[in-house]
Amino acid sequence: MSRENKNNHERIVITGVGLAAPGADNLADFRANLLSGTSGISTLDLRYMGVHPAGLCSFDETRYRKKKENKRGTRAGCIGVYCAGEALKDSGITLGAEYDPARTGVYVGLTEHGTVETENEVYNISQYGYNVDYWTHHHNPRTVLNNPAGEITMTFGLTGPHYSIGAACAAGNAALIQGLQMLRLGEVDLALCGGLSECVGSFGIFASFRAQGALAEHEDPTRASRPFDMARNGIVISEGGCLFTLERLDSALQRGAKIYGEIAGYAINSDAKDFVLPYSPRQSECMVLALKRAGMQPQDISLINTHATGTRQGDIEECKAIRAVFADCPKTFVNNTKSLIGHAMGAAGVLELAGNLPAFTDHMVHPTINLDELDPECALPNLVSGETRELPQVDSILNSSFGMVGINSVLVVKRFLA
């Protein structure tokens, strides 16, 4: 194999996107919402919790499988099957033609799984005096950690490896990294990877954030998610999903694939410090490592798509980390997607990346919304707020996702250049 061929065998590109986001069930509509600053947040009346702002997804749930299968499976599985079907369709891949289903891997990032199903069953048996004879036989297949990935393989007849990547809110990015690594290792030829979240079905997740003082409240739900704003008061929980088809560049070129971008660099590291509090020095190290692997300097990054969730300390720590790495980068812009769609947990990183990928072709940086009074501690140069910003060219995106128990992930994605 020549050097160029070997290189193209190790370069990994994104060739298909399937998503369900609050307010959109495809990339074009999602991008339009982001560019127009249209929030996807509404409200949810949840058992024991009452009404709270939340990001809910509406999509054709029976496009790829029957209603009966949706009933038997999980919400994460339902979202995952839709996203997988859409990603495969968008990629133009015919399984069994360009790629062998046995050489296709499914890697799904999850913040958690089984919480929703367990809460529902405990509620169910509470209606029968806590008699466990009424506990469903579906509980175990629904709550095994590979469930959503496995539901995808059953729907599409994919017989290669499938499993979940648990990495708190860094999980979507971590699954993308897993897919990339498996392609480079030669374990699979096509990777279907990304993240899913069914968190809005769990009162416990809402209650835990509220107990922590980190659950967003606002009389207008579309104004509740407000990273970097002085009046921010926590996280808006969302459901959602985004799966990508990843391929090696050589095989993508061979089949004439549409290429959204190239994953040039990546990194995952650990704070090794605290259960919930983020730590900017490790976040900075993660960004530096991802840039190093991409062979890029901070000045080479066109857009930093931040993780910021709307918690006071989380937003400030991330801004510190960005300042430390991007000290002198006048051509680097910054935005935040959670202000528009809330926090989709395991799907967050990949949904946010997907929403920004079209910047390579439309040259737009979507705005951060709800930024009425910027926290001075979050004042980053070139923070795009309120209005979409058009740039001469967007060459690269640095996407961060951080999670509880101290896990950081950073992806560097480049505009594809042969």
Binding site: K66, K67, K68, K71, R72, Y128, D133, Y134, T136, H137, H138, P141
Partner: protein, 83 residues
């Protein structure tokens, strides 16, 4: 419940499990699983729903009594007579 009530209840339970099931075409003397898209987990859904609705505990060794619609009705008739 009489035989017709039991039949209606069973069809309703099956219809809830699979809304696309063609219940009109069902032959009451042929195994349900040969005619409908039902597997062992769906069968357990039927057993669970009977338990929830009628507090009926069906021992596992009696599951073979529930193969066809008519055998279900025959098996359930004495158990649900007083309901």
């Amino acid at each position: 419940m009489n035989r017709d009530d039991i039949k209606d209840a069973l069809l309703e339970i099956i219809g809830d499990i699979d809304e696309e099931a063609d219940l009109d075409a069902l032959d009451a003397d042929k195994p349900l699983r040969d005619q409908l898209d039902l597997d062992s987990m769906d069968f357990l859904d039927i057993v669970m729903e009977l338990r929830k609705r009628y507090k009926l505990q069906i021992p596992e060794d009696e599951y073979p009594e529930l193969i066809t619609l008519n055998s279900c009705i025959k098996y359930l008739e004495p158990k649900l007579r007083e309901i």
